[in-house]
């Protein structure tokens, strides 16, 4: 039982099930440009076009039925028989039992469309019957944008292609059946063992539509599957829970916007951190901090191209703001539009408001610099020499840290209250200067500049030790003079700020486990109710993976292994994680799937591998 009293949700899961699909029951389909979430009943309830941060064409997830969905499932299912991604791929396979035998839905989005006349957003769904003819239902109801705008409907190719158009967007749905799909109306099709039913959804945004033959689309999906399998082949077989690490890496790659290399934090907006509450944020943006954590995760498994792509995005995206590091950016490196609330959107399980934009963009967060400079140092250690421009950028960030570290900031958790002196932020500022000095050993830096960095680093160390440490409890604290701890401090063992086995490090780990325990293996990120918002949010999943990493690096490998096993058991049925979790029911909370959680999982597994765990 949590030491903090009642469960952190305001609504029971019986209510949620009556209102909608639990978050963790969704699976991710993606093409590295956009992503769809599909529920266990075969309903695609989320898809934005033409990019992650575009307008939803299926928005039922947070907009209710009026926001559109695309369902393909047996007409009379007896139950879900199995649901999984095909091994080392992103193709999803869902099988239902019916009284006429099993019916399987195989689906995915085609990622590689360059070089062929294929639309940049193409979703392929195929129903296959095994034993005999099975009746299935198709309900196709696209609604575009904030106003759930209905399309203008036309038919082509003897009614086999349904074309839905809006002023700048068009969708073609082509099937291999004679059935005339009508938007919003369920249609019945019969699927025979010798004749699968295939739907191809093609999206065009400010360009001509492409009608894709169902066989060509299916072949494109299969070619993609082979490419994903090849991509996974060189992942170290000795990593603990390699299958889950692979799923996390695939998820991270699916959430990386290929045209710019931007890693999107999650493909959704406003999935609630408290069901029925107001902690609903838009995560369809890229955080430089997350990009840096992603660099470490990809480098750790030898995926150097992906790591370099993240750094390339960082360089390009931050150009207009240097030497300031923005908190978050759009996929093309712009500042997000101001945060606003959508009218007439129902919210997930009545969790309102549904937001577009993210107000955290205007905050000052010191920790981001540390993550970015550490990532640059990791790349250097991996044998990649930074280009001169990259080094100049990093040096500019370090100058900015040396100049601004005395100012209070909003901290990693982006709490929308007054700024304060967060100990984690100061530690990351120390890390930024430390890594800049290490990088300076490989690049040119003036002696005066290095003296400034060295002096600031020494002052930071002294101030953190005197103001950010509670000698009575033997732990670093959340902020100067605060009695609270902060789970972000679990990164201490990997910074080099203190010897790994120092009593200050172990004291901090133990205090976090004690004070922020949300019922093993879960942790709150900070003491509940200490963020100025109503309600108590769930346990913060990346922190639990950081605890695994901290324990592994502190040579507490048995504890770390056991904790990691417990966390793996909490994954969604197809191996995904949200940002948070209800500590009592273990239902996932917040935007889904969450890149930070998956990056933390990979790093925890790597730490266990390096510590000798199997």
């Amino acid at each position: 039982m949590s030491p903090h009293g009642p469960r952190p949700t305001d609504r029971t899961w019986h209510d949620i099930n009556s209102l909608g699909t639990p978050i963790e029951d969704y699976a991710l389909l993606g093409d590295t440009r956009s992503a769809a979430l599909v529920g266990p009943e075969g309903s695609i309830d989320w898809l934005c076009v033409p990019r992650f941060d575009g307008r939803p064409v299926f928005g039922r997830l947070v907009g209710g039925p009026a926001a559109g969905s695309f369902r393909l499932a047996p007409a009379r299912p007896l139950g879900l028989a199995s649901r999984r991604y095909r091994p080392e791929s992103v193709t999803l396979e869902t099988t239902w039992d019916t009284d006429a035998g099993p019916l399987t839905l195989t689906e995915g989005m085609v990622a590689e469309v360059s070089g062929d006349l294929l639309p940049s957003t193409m979703l392929v769904r195929r129903l296959t019957a095994r034993d005999g003819p099975v009746e299935a239902t198709i309900t196709f109801d696209p609604r575009l944008g904030e106003q759930h705008q209905s399309p203008r409907v036309q038919y082509r190719d003897r009614d086999r292609v349904l074309v839905c158009t809006w002023p700048t967007t068009a969708i073609a749905l082509k099937t291999n059946s004679a059935v005339r799909v009508q938007p919003g109306l369920p249609q019945t099709v019969t699927v025979s063992p010798d004749r699968p039913f295939t739907c191809v959804l093609a999206v065009a945004d400010r360009e001509p539509l492409t009608y894709v033959d169902h066989d060509a689309a299916w072949e494109a999906l299969q070619r993609d599957e082979l490419r994903w399998q090849a991509w996974c082949r060189d992942i170290d077989p000795t990593i603990p829970h390699r299958d889950m690490v692979t799923r996390s890496l695939l998820t991270l790659r699916l959430l990386t916007y290929s045209p710019s290399g931007a890693p999107v934090a999650a493909p959704t907006t406003s999935l609630p951190e408290v069901v029925g509450g107001i902690r609903n944020w838009d995560y369809r943006y890229a955080w430089p901090r997350d990009a840096s954590i992603g660099i470490a995760a990809f480098l750790g498994v030898g995926k150097h191209e992906e790591a370099r792509a993240f750094l390339a995005w960082l360089l390009s995206a931050t150009r207009l703001d240097r030497p300031r590091l923005p908190v978050l950016l759009t996929l093309h490196g712009k500042h997000p539009a101001p945060e606003r609330e959508l009218k007439n959107w129902a919210g997930y399980a009545d969790s309102l408001p549904v937001r577009l934009g993210n107000g955290a963009a205007d905050q000052h967060q010191l920790d981001g610099y540390g993550w970015v400079l550490d990532a640059a140092w990791l790349l250097t250690q991996a044998g990649h020499r930074l280009y001169s421009e990259t080094w100049r950028t990093m040096a500019g960030f370090a100058d900015n840290v040396a100049a601004r570290w005395r100012q209070p900031d909003a901290g990693i958790w982006e709490v929308r209250a007054d700024t304060t002196h967060h100990v984690h932020s100061k530690l990351m500022a120390w890390l930024a200067l430390d890594r800049a000095l290490l990088l300076a050993g490989h690049h040119r830096a003036s002696p005066g500049r290095m003296r400034r960095w060295t002096a600031a680093r020494a002052e930071l160390r002294e101030e953190i030790a005197s103001c950010g440490f509670d000698p009575e409890r033997g732990t670093y604290t959340r902020s100067y003079g605060s009695p609270d701890v902060d789970a972000a401090l679990l990164i201490l063992p990997k910074l080099g700020f203190e010897p790994i086995c120092s009593p200050r490090v172990s004291g901090t780990i133990d205090a976090i486990v004690h004070d922020l325990d949300a019922g093993p293996p879960l942790l709150y990120r900070y003491p509940p109710r200490h963020d100025g918002l109503p309600g108590i949010e769930g346990a913060f999943l990346p922190c639990s993976f950081w605890l695994v990493e901290a324990l592994a690096k502190s040579r507490r490998v048995v504890e770390a292994t056991s904790l990691f096993d417990d966390l793996i058991a909490l994954a969604s049925p197809v191996g995904l994680y949200a940002e948070e979790m209800d500590p009592l029911t273990h239902h996932h909370l917040g935007n889904f799937p969450q890149a930070l959680t998956h990056a933390a999982l990979v790093q925890a597994a790597l730490a266990l591998r390096d510590a000798g765990a199997r």
Binding site: D31, A309, A312, G333
Partner: protein, 158 residues
């Protein structure tokens, strides 16, 4: 046709255009970096690419200056406003055709259709170069008008 004027003033006008673009970039108005974009056709190192790209841009600018000089010769007049008009046309063409088409031929520029296999590192410019910042269309257009005005003034003065 003023061949000597074309040879010298084409170079000067292109330098003016490049300087305006770089100033806007350094001033935090746009991420469009023409020398970098052109130079990364030859090398992935940004610093070396800028040097190569500046050279390529001078050559391209010289080719465009030939068109301006030919227009002035045909019209029998070269003036700052005529150069400005041609610059406006040139800027519009660059934003709507030339920069977006780079995606199709640039080996290190991703397209909006890029997938996981893409190893390109430059993001696509997008409609009117807007992916490089909201002010990019205005900056690019103004710089090209400046190029035309400079050519019109210099060729008209001879």
């Amino acid at each position: 046709m003023d061949w000597a004027g074309w040879a010298l003033f084409g170079l000067l006008a292109t330098t003016v255009l490049t300087a305006l673009m770089i100033s806007a970039q350094l001033g935090g108005l746009s991420r469009l970096d023409l020398p970098l974009i052109l130079g990364t056709v030859a090398t992935p190192d940004p610093d070396r690419a800028r040097v190569a790209g500046f050279g390529i841009h001078l050559v391209v600018g010289q080719v465009f200056a030939l068109g301006y000089a030919a227009c002035f010769a045909l019209l029998g007049e070269a003036s700052w406003w005529l150069g400005g008009l041609l610059g406006a046309l040139h800027g519009s063409l660059a934003l709507t055709v030339l920069i977006p088409l780079l995606v199709g031929i640039h080996p290190r520029m991703a397209s909006n259709r890029a997938g996981p296999r893409s190893t390109a590192v430059l993001e696509p410019p997008g409609l009117l170069g807007l992916n490089y910042g909201a002010q990019t269309p205005l900056i690019t257009f103004t710089a090209h008008v400046g190029y035309g005005v400079a050519l019109g003034l210099l060729l008209g003065a001879r």
